[in-house]
């Protein structure tokens, strides 16, 4: 056994270079003869491009070229594709208006790309951009979804009422029937606030074209280089894959926002082929705010039918989801299959019906952001269940327990397509209640009251679907790609190992976790393992990192490749030790012959594989280098319980989180320290969404929260010391028995926080508040409730 195998809290090997400033990010890379780009962006949310005059810019000092949408169109460049086709209720496909990388005749959001200026320096490019004369025909902007659906102004002329699609899931009639028999109906209207992702590293790219080989190379800040190669090569630029190399070096955080194929990637790659110089572009922070795809942005009306004892009979949900000005790569799947399919949550609700309309607006595209659809779903359910508890006079713990799927009901088929493979939410819930000292809360509430503070406690119990995704299932639902993962395990002659994975590490610790899998499999120390990812010329293939899939889908691929290596190594060992293969045992890095004292070390076998002097050459090939592709049988379903405790200062409306307990079931835990870190990060983002973060556009489509002066990211002093624990039922849908941990924190926590705040404010008569629950909103809710109560 090594002490760096599965279950060990190995320190993250990548942190050495990250923390000492030795990471190699896209902007750190400089190519010979490199030029620099500045992208001219629309200052208007909605306008026609009457004319774009680039002549002065082209003549400016240092400017190499100025290219516009017209030039791209002339070259036959395609639009940016959407990766998932959704169908309307009537079976017709969603409307997919064109998404030109550089705007052609219209701009549709503030920040939309108008032209690229390529120059000797970045400043010269920016100076050049200021000389471009654009005549904009300003149009009315549509920003809010109701206004957009009223259809006053059209974002795309061929999309009536700005509705991209009107989709449904579940049993409408069954739900109607359940409601007709219900003793109680509880309804709620909610907004899931729009978020701006804010990865630490802004997006960046370097493109290059080799005239001697016809080879294009793109360095880019992506979570999935092969997906970018596929989408950009096949759909946008028509560059065959063998002539296009995409490299995602170190990437400083993504949280979903770096999944998508962005316009700048295509613009730069295309432009490199025209100017025959490498071109670098790095977003300014303000560009990131304005042009990275945003997250969430739902408005939902939902109703829950209950019997007289509080058992759930049916759920009806109508959601409007903002997709922004264009459909981004996963813009259509997030508010549908990643959202409504989770509406059973952890409950046995027998019938569910959901309708989702997606709406184009003059805002930046909205797409996956940590949790992607599942936080929206969890927030809805957990707010609704709390409201039901209050209206029916049932304790929020009891109403949950009463309706919760029990451990012996797995596998559990929900009424909204998914089959939960395994789990035990009641157990996590029990542990969380205990860890949070739920029963001691009233005492703490009384103590806070003495200090003039309002104390509240809030619960969220959740399940999510990740490990994305079984390809056949995803395909049947409209995915335009497979969602398996691949791995290559290359054992070198001296027994060290390089693993090539198609997932991508941008802060999650894969270089450690994945190496632990290999350390465990081969019984070698982790220092002998290198994890390589991010370069399409090195890694055979991959679908990348998102949807908490890397370990759940990428891990089994590595494991399977390791097993292939062991199988082959056993044959070599059998030959050399003159034994039958069936007598070869492999443990702790040693091949032994059963019943004898013969043994060979892992490194001796690998050497034999590459120096095959004494070798079963008629039976097997030399070398020790194996490949595996893994397609999961099902999603995996992490879940758990989050309990938040807050103190509200009624004088200012300020909320302090005084306690946060999370008990999550993430399946097998490979590295407990990394798992805790992932949960902490997710909780920070969940608290951010609940209390602090909210994107605001004004009525003209100008981004009011376009910098850290106005957009509130969570900081250390906004957060408590979290109490996190895992309580796992081993995953049932993959051989590693893992489930996924990247998103659970952000999925489970927002409703726990908001329920806690509402609990604190309940004595004052406050019944509703919307995220982010800023101090101003809390204060206002108290004032409004005072006024209401005075009037009554």
């Amino acid at each position: 056994m090594t002490d760096t195998g599965i279950g060990a809290s190995v320190k993250r090997v990548e942190d050495q270079r990250f923390l000492t400033g030795n990471g190699n990010y896209t902007d750190d890379i400089n190519r010979p003869d490199q030029s620099h780009a500045w992208i001219l962006r629309s200052p208007h949310a909605h306008a026609t491009l009457k004319s774009v005059d680039t002549s002065k810019a082209e003549a400016a000092e240092g400017v190499i070229a100025v290219l516009t949408g017209a030039d791209m169109a002339a070259d036959g460049v395609g639009g940016l594709p959407c990766g998932w086709q959704i169908h309307n209720k009537d079976g017709s496909p969603m409307l997919e208006p064109g998404h030109p990388p550089l705007a052609v005749d219209k701009v549709r959001y503030v920040g939309d790309q108008v032209a690229i200026v390529i120059a000797e320096t970045r400043d010269a490019a920016r100076d050049g951009a200021e000389l471009i004369e654009v005549d904009y025909g300003v149009l009315d902007a549509v920003i809010d979804m109701d206004g957009a659906l009223a259809g006053g102004s059209l974002v795309h002329d061929n999309v009536p009422n700005n509705r991209c699609f009107d989709w449904e899931l579940g049993d409408k009639n069954g739900v109607d029937e359940a409601f007709s028999k219900a003793d109680h109906v509880v309804s709620i209207d909610l907004v899931n606030n729009r978020l701006i992702p804010n990865a630490m590293e802004p997006r960046a790219a370097i493109s290059e074209f080799d005239r001697s080989t016809g080879q294009y190379t793109l360095y880019t800040t992506t979570q999935n280089p092969h997906v970018i190669r596929l989408l950009m090569g096949a759909f946008v630029l028509q560059i065959p894959e063998h002539k296009l190399r995409v490299i995602a070096p170190d990437v400083g955080g993504g949280f979903g926002s770096k999944i998508f194929h962005y316009a700048e990637e295509a613009i730069l790659t295309w432009a490199a082929g025209k100017v025959h110089r490498p071109i670098k572009w790095t977003a300014e922070r303000s560009e990131s705010f304005a042009t990275d795809a945003h997250g969430r942005d739902h408005e939902t009306h939902a109703e829950l039918a209950l019997d007289k004892d509080g058992a759930f009979l049916g759920l009806r949900v109508a959601t409007k989801a903002n997709v922004g000005a264009y459909l981004s790569t996963f813009g259509s799947s997030v508010p549908t299959y990643l959202y409504a399919t989770l509406l059973a949550g952890v409950y046995t609700t027998p019938v569910i019906y959901a309708e989702v309309q997606t709406v184009f607006t003059n805002t930046v595209p909205v797409d996956a952001y940590r949790g992607a659809g599942r936080p929206e779903c969890t927030y809805l359910l957990e707010r609704l269940v709390n409201k039901a508890a209050r209206e029916l006079g049932i304790d929020p713990v009891e109403i949950r327990k009463k309706n919760m799927i029990q451990a012996d009901q797995y596998p559990y088929q929900t009424p909204v397509a998914l089959q939960y493979d395994c789990g035990d939410i009641p157990a996590s819930f029990e542990s969380a209640l205990k860890a949070a000292d739920y029963t001691g809360f009233e005492k703490r509430r009384a103590a806070s009251e003495k200090d003039g503070k309002l104390r509240g406690i809030g619960i969220s119990t959740y399940v999510e679907a990740c490990g994305i995704a079984p390809s056949a299932v995803a395909g049947a639902l409209g995915a335009r790609a497979g969602l398996y993962e691949s791995a290559q395990v290359r054992v070198h002659p001296t027994g060290s190992v390089t693993v090539f994975t198609g997932t991508h590490n941008h802060g999650q610790g894969h270089e450690t976790t994945f190496a632990q899998l290999v350390s465990e499999s081969f019984g070698i120390p982790i220092e002998h393992v290198e994890i390589s990812h991010g370069d399409t010329d090195q890694v055979q293939f991959g679908m990348g990192t998102y949807g908490s899939r890397s370990l759940a889908v990428g891990g089994p691929a590595i494991l399977n490749a390791c097993n292939k290596v062991i199988d082959k190594a056993k044959k070599i060992a059998a030959h050399i030790m003159e034994a039958d293969v069936s007598d070869i045992e492999f443990a702790d890095g040693k091949f032994t012959v059963a019943g004898t004292d013969k043994e060979m070390a892992f490194g001796e076998i690998s050497l034999a594989a590459y120096v095959p002097h004494n070798y079963p050459i008629e039976e097997i090939e030399p070398g020790l280098d194996e490949n595996a592709f893994y397609d999961p049988l099902n999603f995996s379903f992490p879940g758990g319980a989050h309990i938040c405790e807050v103190e509200v200062d009624p004088d200012t409306g300020t909320t302090e989180i005084v306690g946060f307990t999370a008990v999550d079931d993430v399946g097998r835990v490979v590295n407990p320290m990394i798992v805790a870190g992932q949960v902490h990060g997710g909780l920070a983002q969940g608290v951010g969404q609940a209390i602090l973060e909210g994107c605001v556009y004004d009525d003209d489509g100008q981004l009011l929260t376009g910098s850290y002066m106005d957009y509130t990211m969570p900081r250390a002093d906004n957060l408590p010391s979290f109490s996190v624990a895992t309580q796992s039922v081993m995953g049932a849908s993959n051989p590693l028995e893992v489930k996924g941990v990247g998103e659970v924190g952000a999925i489970g926590s927002p409703p726990a926080v908001v329920n806690a705040i509402l609990d604190a404010l309940a004595p004052l008569g406050v019944e509703d508040i919307s995220m982010p629950t800023t101090s101003q909103k809390v204060w206002q809710a108290i004032q409004d409730s005072n006024v209401r109560q005075a009037a009554e």
């Binding site: 400043d123 920016r126 303000s286 004088d651 200012t652 409306g653 602090l692 605001v696 009011l704 929260t705 850290y708 002066m709 106005d710 957009y711 509130t712 990211m713 800023t774 101090s775 101003q776 204060w779 206002q780």
Partner: protein
């Protein structure tokens, strides 16, 4: 950034004349406000005259019933100065709550006062403590110095050399930070100096820092947190933005004033 000429001045006089003789010259102090403005291409000065080497502009001196803080004194040096801590602890703690450590290590009192950001902290102290802004040309009272958002009585090329604070009998500062920027959404300084009570408010007013006469008279009657909290401020002339309505700011002024009184003791 656009191109500009850069020079380091060796003395206050040299700095002032360099700025005056430039086509569009600007002093560079800590750069915490000016540099981001340049990076965003929101300003295009022809010359930057760096004050970093003008040693006699930095430092705190004890004048008995007043203290004088050189314009180039960094926030961290005000926060940790023994003189400031013992004579006007409210000012030390105000400085200690500006921005983050990086900002406090670079930003200066002169830059902050010259900039007169309507959400900055120092203007509240200058006004409530009835300080005097000293320039290379004259002395300007606090009342005359601040002239609306981002506007001051400074003439082109006029250099702040120091700020002189009379030592109050007691003073306290309470800040309700903007959740995003952590500048003051509402900051209130209360001070009693030789029988006079002054209360100033930053962050809230459409015209920048101002004195809250209602709270001043309430505190003159009874120096207590409750007296301050009991004042209902009008929201006339207060800012409203995505972070706070004028009504909320008005409410916070009374609450912060009461906390400032508590802090003053």
């Amino acid at each position: 950034m656009y191109q500009f000429n850069y020079q380091k001045a060796g003395s206050a006089d040299e700095a002032a004349s360099a700025v005056s003789s430039a086509e569009d010259g600007r002093f560079l102090a800590g750069g915490m406000t000016l540099i981001p403005t340049l990076k965003q291409r929101l300003a295009q000065p022809s010359d930057l005259v760096d004050l970093a080497d003008v040693n006699d502009l930095a430092g705190v001196s004890d004048g008995g019933d007043s203290i004088t803080i050189g314009a180039m004194t960094r926030h961290v040096d005000v926060a940790t100065s023994n003189v400031v801590q013992s004579k006007i602890p409210a000012l030390a703690s105000l400085a200690d709550n500006i921005g983050d450590p990086q900002v406090r290590n670079r930003g200066t009192i002169g830059g902050s006062v010259a900039n007169n950001d309507p959400a900055a902290d120092y203007p509240a102290a200058v006004l409530a403590l009835n300080a005097t802004v000293i320039t290379n040309q004259r002395e300007i009272t606090a009342e005359d110095f601040f002239d609306g958002m981002f506007t001051t009585a400074l003439e082109d090329g006029e250099l702040i050399t120091a700020v002189r604070f009379p030592v109050p009998d007691k003073a306290g500062y309470a800040k309700f930070p903007n959740p995003a920027s952590r500048y003051a959404l509402v900051g209130v300084m209360v001070a009693q100096t030789g029988g006079e009570t002054r209360v100033s408010v930053t962050g809230a007013g459409q015209d920048g820092v101002f004195r809250a006469a209602e709270i001043e008279s309430a505190l003159s009657g009874s120096w207590s947190a409750d007296a301050a909290k009991g004042v209902k401020m009008s929201d006339d002339g207060l800012n409203a933005d995505i972070h706070a309505s004028a009504e909320y700011r008005a409410h916070l002024i009374s609450v912060m004033a009461s906390r400032a009184v508590d802090a003053a003791g």
